[in-house]
Structures are given as C-alpha cells and as structure tokens.
C-alpha cells in the first residue's frame, strides 16, 4: 500500500468517526463498559487462582524417621527437592512436649517410653507437585513413613485445579460475550452506513479500499474503549487493594503491578482486536454489491 493511500484511509476513518460523532461516542462507551466487565471478572478470577495456589503453600508434609537415624543428611537432601520450601527437624522429645502442651497434661511419658518418632516437618512451595515429591521421599533410606492428610491434600489439589479450569472457562465465555457486544455495537455504526458502502462499490471501490477506513475506525473505537476501561480498572483495583490490605490483611491479594500488567495485555488485545474484527465482520455482508 502506498503511504499516500494509507494516509487517505486514516483521514477517511477520522472523518467517518467525527461525522458520526454521537454513534462513535456510544460505541466507545459500550466497548469501555464491556471491557470493564471483562476486567472485573479477570481481577476476581486471577485472585481466586492466586488464592488457591497460596493455599497449597499452607499444606505440610510430615516425614517420620526410623529409630536412631541421623536427621541432618536427610534434612539436607530433602531441602534440595523441588517444591520444598523449608525442612524443620522435630525430635521425639520436642514432639512429646508439643503433645503435652496441646493435650494440657504433664509428664505424659514418664512411666512409659516415649513412642513418638523423630520427625521432619516440610513446608511446601505453592507450585509443588505433591505426588512426585512423596514418591521421591519414599525412596529415601531411613524414612519410616510419609504422612500427609492424603485425602485432604488431594481434594485440595483437585479444587485448585477446578478453580483454574473454571476460571479460564469463565474468562473465555465473558470474552465471547464481550466480542458479541463489541461486534454488535460496531455493527450499529456500520448499519447506518450500508448505503455508503453500496455507493462506494458502484463507483468502483475495491473491498479493501472500503474496508480499511472502517477497520481503522473499529480499531480506534477499540483503543478508546481500552484506554477508558484500563484507567478505571487500575484505579478501581488500587482502591480495592488498599482496602483489603487494611481491612483483611490475611487475604493474599495479587499485587497491583502483576494485575495491571496482565490486565493491560488482556484488555488491550481484546479491545483492539475485537474492534478490528467487529468492523470487518459488520461490513462483510454489505460488500456483496
């Protein structure tokens, strides 16, 4: 394409937008609004996923050692495993103390031998693959048993997975709804102008010659909607973040930086691409003249 022709298309697009001012404004508003809805869902869903990931980190594994095993080398080896955050040695005496404390009795094992094993408490990294880690631990020498609330941990893992899958499905569905809204909004701006398209074709314009200005208009509407929605969404998240940190600091909300970064890409791509697609689809029917 010649630079002059592209310039012409850009000029045409801006003329089209300004001379259909009210329509363009309505379209930008609708696009911004639907992008805000998409953004809100995105914020909630990424935080849920983040929350679920963090919940994994609260999970703990206990490794019971055989009698008279030196814990130091095991502790060192396990620390190197993937998904392990911290390994703490709890001797049988410490275990007894803890048990006494929690049962509220004294001298629990004075008459009998202390039957508790030495234990390694493992704190897990949120990204751990628990099954694999347990297998690795089982293969170590000197370990009697790996204890973890098997059903609880596995249920947790499934729930976390479900939240992830559901979240992605939900975002996709909302994305499609937003696509539908944007395409239809832009279709309205085009619908009012199908006669123009017919006239252009009768005067000898090619499909692309007609399509370009409309596509640029669609992209422009998308970009405007994107900017407005991003401004409002980041501001909104800023306030929400501050509020939660203040009112419920134990809830692990994602940092603004991470959310804004991801949201910027999502909203920009959706806004611009849907804008372009919306206008291109909308005029397709009218080009058959």
């Amino acid at each position: 394409m010649k630079a002059k022709t592209f310039l012409y298309f850009t000029k045409e697009a801006s003329i089209g937008l300004s001379r259909n001012g009210l329509m363009s404004l309505a379209a930008v508003t609708t696009v911004a609004f639907s992008l805000i809805i998409l953004g809100c869902f995105f914020i909630v869903i990424t935080n849920c996923i983040h929350f679920a990931e963090m919940a994994k980190g609260v999970l703990e594994l206990k490794v019971y050692l055989k009698e008279n095993v030196d814990p130091a080398p095991l502790q060192a080896a396990i620390s190197e495993f993937k998904g392990v955050e911290e390994v703490r040695f709890v001797s049988k005496e410490e275990g007894a103390e803890w048990l006494e404390k929690s049962l509220g009795v004294k001298n629990l094992f004075v008459t009998a031998d202390n039957p508790l094993p030495d234990t390694l408490d493992i704190r897990l990294d949120p990204k751990v693959n628990v099954k694999k880690l347990v297998k690795q631990l089982d293969s170590l020498d000197g370990i009697d048993e790996v204890a973890y609330g098997k059903t609880f941990v596995e249920a947790m893992l499934i729930i976390i997975q479900i939240i992830g899958v559901l979240g992605i499905c939900l975002i996709t569905i909302i994305g499609l709804v937003v696509l539908y809204i944007i395409v239809n909004t832009i279709r309205l701006t085009v619908l009012a102008r199908w006669k123009e398209i017919e006239i252009m074709k009768l005067v000898g314009a090619t499909d692309w010659f007609i399509r370009w200005p409309f596509m640029l208009e669609g992209i422009f509407i998308g970009v405007c909607g994107t900017i407005i929605s991003l401004l409002l969404l980041t501001k909104g998240y800023h306030l929400l973040y501050a509020y939660i940190k203040e009112a419920a600091p134990f809830i692990p909300v994602l940092s603004e930086k991470i959310v804004n970064y991801r949201m910027f890409w999502l909203i920009t791509m959706v806004g611009v691409a849907f804008g372009a697609v919306g206008s291109t689809w909308s005029i397709k029917k009218f080009l058959r003249v």
Binding site: K2, K4, T5, Y8, I15, G16, R19, N20, R193, K195, E196, E198, I199, M200, K201, L202, V203, G204, A205, T206, D207, F209, V289
Partner: protein
C-alpha cells in the same frame, strides 16, 4: 460496446422487470432510453454496471460477459463507466468536493490530479461555489449535477445517465445536454434514460422505447412517442 442477448430480469420478489431484451449499442453512440415509469429503464442500467445479474441471457460490455466476471474484476470494470443515478447516490458524510473526488480516490489518483480535475468538473456543472457543502444541504437538481460531475470526472468510456434532467429547469437541462453532447463528441458512449419529451424530440438521436420490460421501438433519429 453494449450487447444484450435475450436478456430477462426477474427480481427476487418475482417482479418481471425485463424480458427478452436484444440490443446492440455501438461505441460512441448516444442512445435515449424512454418508456413509462416501471418499464425497466433503471433495471437496464443496473444490468450494465453489474449491480444486478440477468436471470436469463447474456450481457456483454466490450468483450466481457458480465455473468462470468469474477468478483475482484468488478471494481476495475466499474471504473470505466460513469453513472448518473436516478436517486443520485451521493455519500451523505462527504462534501460535494469529496463526493466527486471519491471517483478519483478509488483509482488512487494523485493529490495534484484531484485538486485539478474536481474544481474543473464542478465548474462545468455550475456548482463551483457549493464545493464545501454537504448533499443534504443541496436542492434535488444540485444533487443531480453532483452525481453527473462524479460520473464524468475520470472520463469514462461509457456514461449511463438515469433521468439526468429529472429535477432541472429547462435552461439548466439544456446546459447539461450541451455538456453530455460535448462528452459524446470526445468519444464517450452515452445511454440516457429520460421522460423529457422536449429533449428527445429536439435532439433526434437513437431512441429505444421500453414498455413492460420489452423493447417496443428502436429508431435512429427517433422521437419520444409515435
């Protein structure tokens, strides 16, 4: 230039607009298309610019059979034909100047050409001082002349005029006819659909009369009615 071979056109709502049209128009001819309202004149023009396809028969323009023309060939084909539409078909969001310029923009004419040709042709049709005005702010006759200006601005080989004097006073009409004659002398083939008895009778050119979608008369140096 234009060849219709047993052409029939039935619209999708089953209206029969043309039946069994056989017609040959030579390069450089000036032909009047007359006939009562609804006779099929506009349909004839739509078939020539491939706005519609014939239901039966063939339309040939130059050596091209329009029924066999590929989609991407249509715009280029249409650029060689100027059309003055009965309903003007002006772009509402463009000024008079931009409307006329559009016919040059589609062939990617240079800015210099646009700035030279458009004012010149607006001058010819007497609308020089309306260049910056939008179509809705024009009278019917003025819109008609914008349509004419757009049709002739890139010097087409074939000019189709659908009632080009329909909304004009007699003086302006004759001015437009002089212009069309001038263009015809330079070699452009012209087909003009009209109800204007005065003009047809004074000009004594070929007259093709349609009635109920059929050719009922085809005379060299003809008149409006018998």
């Amino acid at each position: 230039m234009i060849q219709f071979q047993r052409v029939s056109k039935t619209y999708s709502n089953k209206t029969i607009a043309l039946t069994g049209i056989d017609l040959f128009i030579e390069k450089g001819e000036f032909v009047f298309l007359v006939g009562p309202s609804g006779a099929g004149k506009t349909t004839f023009i739509k078939l020539v610019i491939r706005r519609e396809l014939p239901t039966e028969g063939q339309v040939l323009i130059g050596r091209k059979n329009l029924s066999l023309m590929k989609n991407h060939e249509i715009p280029i084909f249409r650029r060689n034909i100027g059309v003055i539409f009965q309903d003007y078909k002006l772009l509402p969001n463009k000024t008079v100047f931009e409307n006329v310029a559009f016919a040059l923009e589609v062939i990617e004419a240079s800015r210099k050409d646009v700035l030279k040709q458009v004012p010149a042709v607006l001058e010819l049709v007497g609308l020089k001082d309306k260049a910056k005005v939008f179509p809705t702010e024009l009278s019917g006759g003025e819109q008609q002349r914008v349509s004419l200006a757009r049709a002739i601005v890139n010097r087409p080989l074939l000019l189709l005029a659908d009632e080009p004097t329909g909304n004009l006073d007699p003086d302006t009409s004759w001015g437009i006819m002089d212009l069309l004659m001038e263009i015809n002398k330079r070699g452009t083939t012209i087909v003009m659909a009209t109800h204007n008895k005065n003009i047809v009778d004074r000009m004594r050119r070929r007259v093709v009369a349609l009635e109920n979608g059929q050719i009922v008369r085809d005379e060299q140096k003809g008149v409006y009615d018998i």
